[in-house]
């Protein structure tokens, strides 16, 4: 079970992800609504895993990912992508994300991706 930081600009998606993580026995230690908050929360909380939305205001997921990886090259980041964002998904993996999940997803799909990201 892992301590997880959940990042998404939509409060609804933060709830969906947090509920799914809780159902899988993971602990959501923090939430952030944009990339700037995400980097701050990552530094403050040192989560074992960060779920990261791609399209966000102020600082998007790819920019936040780059900063997180710069802070901790071994950080485990799981990208949450929408359909049609495959090029950004590939870019995020190249930048160090461990895995990704495509929205809309079922809780089991998220937990499977979380498991892969944690095992990576």
């Amino acid at each position: 079970m892992a301590r997880v930081l959940v990042v998404d600009d939509a409060a609804f998606m933060r709830k969906v992800v947090s509920d799914a993580l809780a159902s899988g026995g993971h602990e959501v230690v923090g939430e952030a609504g944009n990339g700037v908050e995400a980097v701050k929360q990552f530094q403050a909380l040192a989560p074992e895993l960060t779920t990261l939305d791609i399209t966000m205001p102020e600082k998007d997921g790819l920019e936040a990912l780059a900063e997180i990886i710069a802070l901790d090259p071994r950080a485990r980041v799981l990208m949450c992508s929408a359909l049609g964002q495959e090029s950004k998904v590939i870019e995020s993996i190249q930048k160090g994300a461990k895995d990704f999940v495509v929205k809309p997803f079922q809780p089991a799909q998220l937990l499977e991706a979380v498991g892969k990201a944690l095992a990576a």
Binding site: D9, A11, F12, G84, Q94, K103
Partner: protein, 368 residues
């Protein structure tokens, strides 16, 4: 053949249809069996696209911000918006019987924004296929339209506008697209280019051909992923067998040494795509003297483009396991076209092996 076979109006209808189809497919994931896309209407000059929008409607908007410009506003009745939010899991607060329904909660509005984000990302991918380039979208904006007459102040105006109707859970909704002139010009050009390609070839292979087919019979998933990922070149190799030995022994192997592998000569070999085993088969020698593999079993019938993409993205860690002995380039099969791509190997990927496992032999190629 004329230089221009499609009119701007037809291009706008194509735009509305392609966008609407992509949106409908994603909405169908949220509210299965209750989504129906209706007609695409190109609005006449001077007609406000918000003229018939009822006061109190819920509007979510997403703009194209890179690649092209333009605004997309999805207008829902409050009941339709509530039904969609509830289907997504954002349950409404309970209201006493007979009381006026409460305004949508922040969580419901957030769910609607997320729906707009996901649907328009898929739509942007669909349009990107038509135009042959990536299109970025803005973060969504969701609000109650208390004064639809003033919507132009919120969303701006454009020379062209389309309205595409939907039924969601029995409620009428519509997508309003505000389309700049340059966007239409590019649509016309892209579709005309496709027409020219079709003239030259009986099978359309251009972006617009793919989009046209997609608008009819494919999901946004295939638009967004398979169209894009289908062109990615992946490494394919066959594994003859493997064994383990201490690193010192491996380094000390002399020329002429024989390393026993863990399989018999008549056992099937495994076929890998970027580290993911996906098939087994018999090793053959072709008439040209090259190695080939005849597939006799697929390990994962459900191996999807996403799996392949994930496998491709996991390539660096897969290659931590070294494969120093490249036997022979080949590995053609009935359904995978291969070519010699030994030079594609990342020379750094085997530089720091964590495990001294050194006897994987491979035949390497690439899927086109």
């Amino acid at each position: 053949m004329t230089q221009q076979e499609i009119t701007p109006r037809e291009a706008l209808i194509r735009l509305g249809a392609s966008t609407g189809e992509a949106i409908a497919k994603v909405l169908e994931m949220f509210v299965p069996g209750t989504v129906e896309r209706g007609e695409v209407t190109v609005l006449a000059d001077g007609v406000s696209p918000f003229a018939n929008v009822a006061r109190g409607s819920i509007a979510t908007s997403v703009s194209y911000v890179d690649g092209v410009t333009g605004a997309n506003v999805f207008v829902m009745t409050p009941a339709g918006a509530r039904a969609l939010a509830a289907a997504m899991g954002a349950a409404a607060e309970e209201v006493a019987e007979g009381a006026d329904p409460s305004p949508l909660s922040e969580l419901e509005l957030s769910a609607l924004s997320e729906a707009a984000n996901q649907t328009m990302a898929a739509a942007a991918a669909a349009i990107g296929v038509v135009l042959g380039q990536g299109i970025e979208i803005s973060t969504p904006d969701t609000r109650v339209l208390d004064d639809p007459a003033g919507a132009a102040d919120i969303y701006g105006t454009a020379p062209h506008a389309t309205s595409t109707t939907f039924m969601i859970a029995g409620e009428s909704c519509r997508l309003i697209q505000l389309v700049p002139r340059a966007f239409v010009v590019r649509m016309v050009r892209a579709i005309d280019e496709e027409s020219a390609e079709r003239t030259d070839s009986t099978v359309g292979t251009g972006s617009a051909a793919r989009a046209a087919r997609s608008a009819v019979d494919s999901s946004p998933h295939s638009l967004a992923l398979e169209e894009a990922l289908g062109g990615i070149s992946l490494r394919v190799w066959a594994e003859l067998g493997r064994t383990r030995m201490p690193l010192g022994s491996a380094l000390g192997l002399p020329v002429g040494a024989v390393v026993d592998l863990d399989r018999t000569a008549d056992a099937p070999v495994d076929l890998y795509v970027n580290g993911m085993r996906f098939a087994r088969g018999q090793l053959l020698v072709t008439d040209d003297g090259e190695w080939a593999v005849s597939l006799d079993g697929l390990d994962s019938q459900g191996l999807s483009m996403l799996d392949l993409a994930r496998s491709a993205q996991a390539q660096p860690r897969e290659l931590v396991e070294p494969a120093p002995e490249v036997v022979e380039p080949a590995a053609e099969s009935s359904d995978i076209e291969s070519e010699d791509r030994i030079e594609d190997r990342d020379p750094t990927s085997t530089a720091e092996p964590e495990t001294p496992e050194v006897t994987q032999s491979e035949v390497e190629g690439a899927v086109k």
